[in-house]
Symmetry: C2
Subunit: 397 residues, 2 copies
Amino acid sequence: MALAPSEILAARLRRVRGHVEAAGLDALIVTHLPNVFYLTNFTGTSAIVVLTADALYFITDFRYLAAVQAGLDTRIGCPGATLVAVDRSYDETLAGVLKDRGFARVGFEAERMTVARFNWLTAALGGDANAVSPGTARSGGAPVLAPTERVIEGERLRKDAHEIETLRTAAARLSQMAPAFLASLSVGETERQVAARLEWTIRQAGFDRPAFDTIVASGPNAGLPHARPTDRRLEAGDLVVLDFGGVHDGYCVDLTRTVSMGPPGPEARRIHQAVAEAQAAAIRAVRPGVAASAIDRQARDTLERHGLGEAFGHGTGHGLGIEVHEEPRITRRPPHDEVMDAGMVFTIEPGAYLPGFGGVRIEDDVLVRDDGCEVLTEVPRELVAAGGSRDGGHEPR
Amino acid sequence: MALAPSEILAARLRRVRGHVEAAGLDALIVTHLPNVFYLTNFTGTSAIVVLTADALYFITDFRYLAAVQAGLDTRIGCPGATLVAVDRSYDETLAGVLKDRGFARVGFEAERMTVARFNWLTAALGGDANAVSPGTARSGGAPVLAPTERVIEGERLRKDAHEIETLRTAAARLSQMAPAFLASLSVGETERQVAARLEWTIRQAGFDRPAFDTIVASGPNAGLPHARPTDRRLEAGDLVVLDFGGVHDGYCVDLTRTVSMGPPGPEARRIHQAVAEAQAAAIRAVRPGVAASAIDRQARDTLERHGLGEAFGHGTGHGLGIEVHEEPRITRRPPHDEVMDAGMVFTIEPGAYLPGFGGVRIEDDVLVRDDGCEVLTEVPRELVAAGGSRDGGHEPR
């Protein structure tokens, strides 16, 4: 894996420490694993980071200790990390770290920490879980737990040079494998078989794993925006929506194309054309200074002009990075209506879903640059007709 | 998919409603998706349930509305569910449902709800997020949010007839595919290639998807209990730990075997034998009335007698069901040291990890029955020697 070199991690840590200091915190508890990965390159499934102005306590358990210790001194090691082994439980070890250091005010990720864990920690630190709420000062020497939101997520919004390079490589890889796969669909295959072949192909292309459960929705199932693959067999005349992605060196890319089994009929062509126009309009709108909701509006207005406004019920896109759904959200009313800035990476994926008939979605990944928009995925957007021989592909059947 | 029939859902709802009533709650907010699935058969990725004594409000968004609506009247539909479409956001729609119904006291899943969501909801319901903490009564007509823990998880601990049948089928399927796959490993394949082949085989066997990221750890990497597959090529003399699972009709099964590339040496045989003994001892201890920690102790004591106590740093097992890691936890000091009862399903997976040398883990899935223990997975536990021709398997290369 080509993970972020230590100097990139150092720069991330510097920026996050700036936020921690500005918020008047002695430390930040990082429990959200994608944020832990962002700061440390840790790829396991259990760890907690406690970040202070001059230290980083890395709490993990037996399963990961040896690997993490060995990684610290490499060129992708986390600078200045102190390894803390979990003794009885993560929570108890975390409480121990917080108490021993005599912190007065410790931030936590309020969007990630559960109420139960917060209450437990509060009690363990010497407060009373049921009488104290986030951010309230307490008597005695116990640290106050202060809720924070989007401290690290805010940094992750703008990808750094390492992340952009990783996402470009991943998107190019996905783009390269997609056309042959799309052309390989054949009448008689089930959606589940297609999904299995597709995930196999994603791994063969060198991805660590699929970025999410692959969607293969055919015929009437394509009228459901998020159908799961079923045992339905592809039939001549079907539209088939394929939504798939891969994880490369910890970063997710995501692509959707719609394939016609045999020559598409006029209604299929009309809907596909409208969705393609909506996508192009949204992509044209992507540049620094534009609000996420304004990009969404471009796609939505286009579909409404084609009489397909009601058929497009979901958002236009979502951020991509360590998580396959992250900020910015490109929707009508995003919780945070981000103004585009260089380094943001997200999907543009309008669709139209007509119950009983079927549906179309077209999705690409874009990067905001100072000079506009770079489309990272490059796969023909025309409505591909497949459905030929079942012996055409290289993939396992 | 053969999901739970409506009458099974009705029985689950009846039991959970009993707990809700006993806790003096007018309603329970269910945000944990596996719990939503347990109550409703919903397999999507976004939904919230509000359960009252005589109603079930099912909140979901555009993407799932049509599919959920269509499913309600089938034999696997959720009895008595009222569909509520998300308008602006899940949280706003949830707040609307809670306010409109005039509830006085509403439970929420404290181990699942984040502090940020709790604070937002509290404020939206007419309280003050930063002055009120979980469970505090408030003036005015706004409902009080009361933390609950393990209401539905407690029910899920003992599998019902539908779940046991589903898990048996899944375990039999995994057992059937495993031996040929284990024998197919060949020198020169990379861990990542093996993992890709294995996940493909899992899908071909009819599973919805792998239950987790497959572990293939070879040679020194097998000395790390939770290594990710790397580009390391299998070598003669390696021990290879393969830990894999599948999801069948929403339920997870999980299996680990260790393979020797070529004839194993004396140290490999010794360690494998010790781990196999530890596993057998733990399995023998499984019967109603025994504490989870006592089962763990059987495995741990056995390995200690073989001088491998330090080499076994993780727990002996974890519950299986809708989640691949759920209760009961079979560890030294589980947060809840469950006493075994008929219907519990979990893994027994001791291991020994020797840095530099490699490691062994053997894992099976067991069901507690009134009369003792049923081992659901049935795959030879001997140290299999593989490493022959690369052309032997049916799987794609």
